[in-house]
């Protein structure tokens, strides 16, 4: 057994604290104000587009809501599932997650745009009873507005739980802000850290709370994905019966979440000068996650497709026409390329997985692929919906529309605006919350060592329970 020398880490701790606390001050100098301004303006444009869309379109023109629903779905994936990158490795006790977890968790703040966007969509969703007849629904005989209410609660709940998760995981950092800064930051840190001084009891309860909040967030997330995917697309297409679809939705959501975290990590690392804290290991581990989720996209897709293709019944043929070779076939091919083939082929090469910027390019491709995927799924669902058709056993092939519809100018405004709103919320938060969690950084300083092993040097990781 190799002796591990006892080292004094105080110096490392202090330098980590100082450099990370200073990131909340002026990482970019004057440019930061400009960036804030741009995202702020874009967010305002998004909100204006939203209001205009509601006033000009109304809730009855269902086919006009397809792109809107696709954007909500995309944001549920991009912003909603990003914290899973922090939660899952924490539960699995992987040691690489420590510098990543804060950035991933901060995306819960961007959930504000999902929550705002989701509420108008609830009004556009047709009730469970259409023309006096109950339509097919996973809510069976429940009250006719059950999905509306449940989805509203779930989306807001997801946002609140996310905020809770962010707060719980940053309590020790709040205490650090209280001790190492001045002015409003100090006051805010004091009130948010709730008297955290780092006693053993406080750490134990902190860990328990993080575990609970993480699990809770995960369950909420899966719940939201299941409800959203079923109620806002699958149920609108008469005859579409696809049990794997909610899981497909969640898995692809996680794929886009991982992509978001990679891009976020890359940008923060580069422009906030965090090279000391975020290593290549993190990108390496994230690339593996990305690889796995990319393969999941194809797996879940082929699971459904194979059944439909082989089954060949009228319902199956209709489903394939809607999802694959119907009017949205070009979009589907784009998805297949950008969500699976291209990222998969790039990411199997080891050098790519070591290179942050290459990985970010792949992540961007994946995000575009996710957008196309959501367009393919949601726009047609809202396009084929009609009050007469919904009660049929299935939609006959000749009733499926021949052309895809184009997004309106408001849809584009909403998409850009609300993505910006999410980013704006995160940028605002970085003025106060360090983008790399200081306490977890300390933990990794404490628990990882380069030690001498006979004639070589090895890297040892402590695994406390």
């Amino acid at each position: 057994m190799i002796e591990v020398p006892v080292t004094n880490n105080t110096e490392k701790f202090n330098s980590a604290t100082n450099s990370l606390v200073s990131t909340t001050k002026e990482p970019l100098g004057g440019k930061l104000k400009l960036i804030f301004g741009i995202f702020g303006v874009l967010s305002v444009i998004g909100i204006i587009s939203l209001i205009l869309k509601i006033t000009t379109l109304g809730f009855d023109a269902k086919s006009g809501w397809g792109y809107y629903a696709a954007v909500v779905s995309l944001l549920l994936g991009v912003f909603g599932t990003a914290p899973m990158v922090a939660i899952a490795p924490t539960i699995a006790k992987a040691d690489w997650h420590r510098p990543v977890s804060r950035i991933a968790t901060m995306f819960t703040l961007a959930g504000i745009s999902t929550s705002i966007l989701a509420i108008p969509l609830i009004f556009a969703l047709p009730p469970l009873v259409v023309d006096g007849i109950r339509r097919r629904s996973i809510w069976f005989d429940a009250n006719i507005y059950t999905p509306h209410v449940f989805f509203g609660i779930a989306v807001i709940g997801l946002f609140l739980v996310g905020l809770g998760l962010l707060w719980v995981t940053s309590i020790p950092d709040m205490a650090i802000m209280r001790d190492h800064s001045s002015g409003w930051k100090q006051r805010l840190g004091k009130s948010l850290s709730r008297g955290f001084v780092g006693t053993e009891g406080q750490w134990i309860s902190l860990r328990a709370r993080i575990g609970m909040m993480g699990t809770f967030y995960f369950m909420f997330l899966i719940f939201v994905h299941i409800i959203y995917s079923i109620c806002f697309s699958l149920e609108l297409v008469a005859g579409w019966k696809d049990a794997i679809y909610p899981m497909y939705h969640a898995a692809t959501g996680i794929q886009s979440g991982v992509a978001t975290v990679i891009i976020g990590l890359f940008l923060f690392r580069k422009y906030w000068k965090l090279e000391d804290h975020i290593g290549i290991d993190q990108f390496w581990a994230l690339s593996k996650l990305m690889f796995a989720t990319t393969i999941f996209w194809f797996y879940f897709f082929i699971c459904a497709f194979m059944i439909f293709w082989y089954g060949k019944s009228a319902i199956n043929e209709m489903t394939i026409a809607i999802l694959v070779n119907g009017p949205y076939m070009p979009v589907f091919i784009g998805t297949l390329l950008l969500s699976f083939i291209v990222p998969w082929w790039i990411i199997i090469w080891n050098p790519v997985r070591y290179s942050p910027w290459m990985l970010s390019v792949v992540a961007t491709i994946v995000l575009i692929g996710s957008l196309l995927d959501r367009i393919r799924l949601y726009v047609i669902s809202w396009q084929v919906y009609s009050d007469e058709m919904i009660h049929k056993r299935y939609i006959p092939l000749d009733e499926i529309p021949e052309n895809m519809i184009a997004p309106s100018i408001f849809d584009i405004g909403i998409f850009i605006g609300f993505v910006s709103l999410g980013i704006f919320a995160i940028l605002l938060a970085t003025r106060f919350i360090p983008v790399v969690s200081i306490w977890e950084r300390h933990q990794s300083i404490l628990l990882t060592r380069h030690i001498k092993f006979h004639r070589t040097e090895v890297y040892a990781v402590g695994k406390p329970d």
Binding site: M1, I2, E3, V4, V6, A92, A94, R136, S137, I138, F140, I222, I226, G239, K241, D242, A243, I244, Y245, P246, M247, I295, Y299, F300, C303, A304, M306, I307, F308, Y310, G311, K312, S313, N316, L446, L447, R449, I451, F453, V458, Y459, A460, V461, G462, K463, P464, D465
Partner: protein
Amino acid sequence: MQQRRQLDEKQINRELLNGNLETPKWYYPVMGVLGVGVLIGFATILYMFNRGLGVTGLARPVYWGLFITTFVFWVGISHAGIMISAILRLTQAEWRRPVTRAAELLTVFSLLTALFFPLMHAGRPWRIAYWLIPYDWARGIWPNVRSPLFWDPIAIGTYLTGSTLFLFVALIPDLAILRDRTTGIKKTIYSMLALGWRGNPRQWQLQVVAGILLSALMLPIFVSVHSIVSWDFAVTPAVEGWHSTIFAPYFVIGAVHSGVSAVVTMMCLMRWLWKWNNYIRPEHFDALARLLIIVATAWLAFTFLELIFSLYGRDAPEIALRELQIFTWPWNLIFITFLLTGYVIPVGCWLFKRCRNNIAIMFWTSILVNVGMWLERFLIIVPGLARKQVFVYTWEGYWPSPVEWIILVWSFAWVSFLMLLFARFFPLVPLFEAKESQVFTTEMKVGRATVPMVIRE
């Protein structure tokens, strides 16, 4: 968490080879009992071949019954090996080390057993070679690549070949240890099998890389095998209860659930039979039980999605099927038993740390899981066929005949027999992994506390 236990190589050799270098006292009696079971089983199979499939309980429209259930069950169990050795190897979980070999072995033997069942359930098993290989070239016809039943042997063959090779590659260093500990004819055989292993850095490096590379290659096969098995069922639009898109991942996660539970059962037995208390420790059970909680919960979620979507269409035959499956005697009893044993009781136990660390409790709960998982397959296959489409004129039930039950029991005896036979000649716990774990773990002092450390290169 791993408690560190300082063991030197001599002690590891002595303790882990205790079943190979000498025969344990219980060995022959146990093998005798199992051997009788195996013989009875083979006699029953021959009887069935001789008389025809009329001796089973199969009847229209339930053309597939216990045999296919058991086939799916054993293929499910076979997912233990790669789940444990590949996924845990890739995620660098230290606690996988003592379990990998046994899990891979279970994969190989359960696949071998699983292959018997489609063979047996065929009407003319002596012509089955034709299904796999076109033995009669003059006929000018090849197997139908569009048939899921042709995908099956290809997928299972791939998985079996891959697992066997994986098992062998990881066995080479241990064969070298056995070669060094034996004499005479045994030494010659072990020497030949060990391929002249010397243990130089090149060989060790390749051994480590091989583990990772083969795991990465086996993982996609592992997922595809049970997906393909599930597609046997899911592609048929005629059977409403089968034609579901969720089947592939649902079967895979169910297979992982039952496979990992089977590994737990096996670990308990290994600990009791060979007294490997230094290697198979409560924390291993703890870690596996935690993994199982997650797997089981995901599996339950899939079960409910499947159920919800079967009722979602509001089709009469589908509702009739679920009525049979959930509310009609005796299926309601089976359904309740399946839920209780497959999820509620085991997961309820595993939530408590005390149960996770108690080997007897882990043993019984893991057996319960597999009872539940067998019933699950039975519940999917048989009622699905019994209530096929709207032709109420031909709704029939099915209950297995004694011949089928005997063959079911035989399959368990057969797998155990093969496992014990293997354990007599080869070590079940990988010795070099146990030694590697001694080298690659250390501990550090943080204040007064001692924190175990893992060395990464």
